[in-house]
Symmetry: C2
Subunit: 110 residues, 2 copies
């Protein structure tokens, strides 16, 4: 996701391509690392770790380590992270309505 509202300011990178998917996965509540890996097929552990760390650093996700044996770590959307659900829903509605047009154009341009 990118923030590119005004033309003048430099674009600010909010997340890589996995960020929005992780937000969707955390919508319904906290998840463990392994619970994120299942729906996010195609993400490597290394990339998932890096993306979660970046989201934590940006205040979008909180990471809670429970002192249990075996250790349990859960990731949860922060209040700030939850505010992204609304604009993401607008983008998803766009995708459902129009993404096929874009992909058709892309394919016929090959």
């Amino acid at each position: 996701m990118f923030s590119g509202c005004s033309a003048e300011n430099p674009p600010i990178r909010i997340g890589d391509k996995w960020t929005s998917k992780i937000i969707v996965c955390l919508k319904s509540g906290p998840r463990r690392f392994s619970e994120l890996q299942v729906p996010l097929r195609g993400v490597t552990p290394k990339v998932l770790t890096a993306t979660l760390r970046a989201m934590e650093r940006d205040g979008l996700v909180t990471r809670t380590a429970y002192p249990e044996i075996p250790p349990r770590v859960e990731y949860e959307l922060s209040p700030l992270g939850r505010t992204l659900l609304e604009p993401m829903a607008a983008m998803c509605a766009w995708s459902r309505a129009h993404l096929h047009e874009l992909l058709d154009a892309r394919e016929s341009a090959l």
Copy 2:
């Protein structure tokens, strides 16, 4: 911009970080290459050319070359490109309301 609605599908790259800025610049009507360069400070001609070509290929932008001397080329949002203005407005509203929180968190994590 990325389309990452469902967790299962691979993320689809709709544009690089300049795409949303170019859409904003074309909101009010067609623009020439040089007219895009002025507000998009920081973009190199090479990157602007590549981004506009990708947007043309994706059906978001139309390119019209007028047979004049000197030649005139204008870029304009297609109807499909205009459909992106609404979800982008939602993202921009989010930025105005919350981006400073994200940047504060990012800075304090350094």
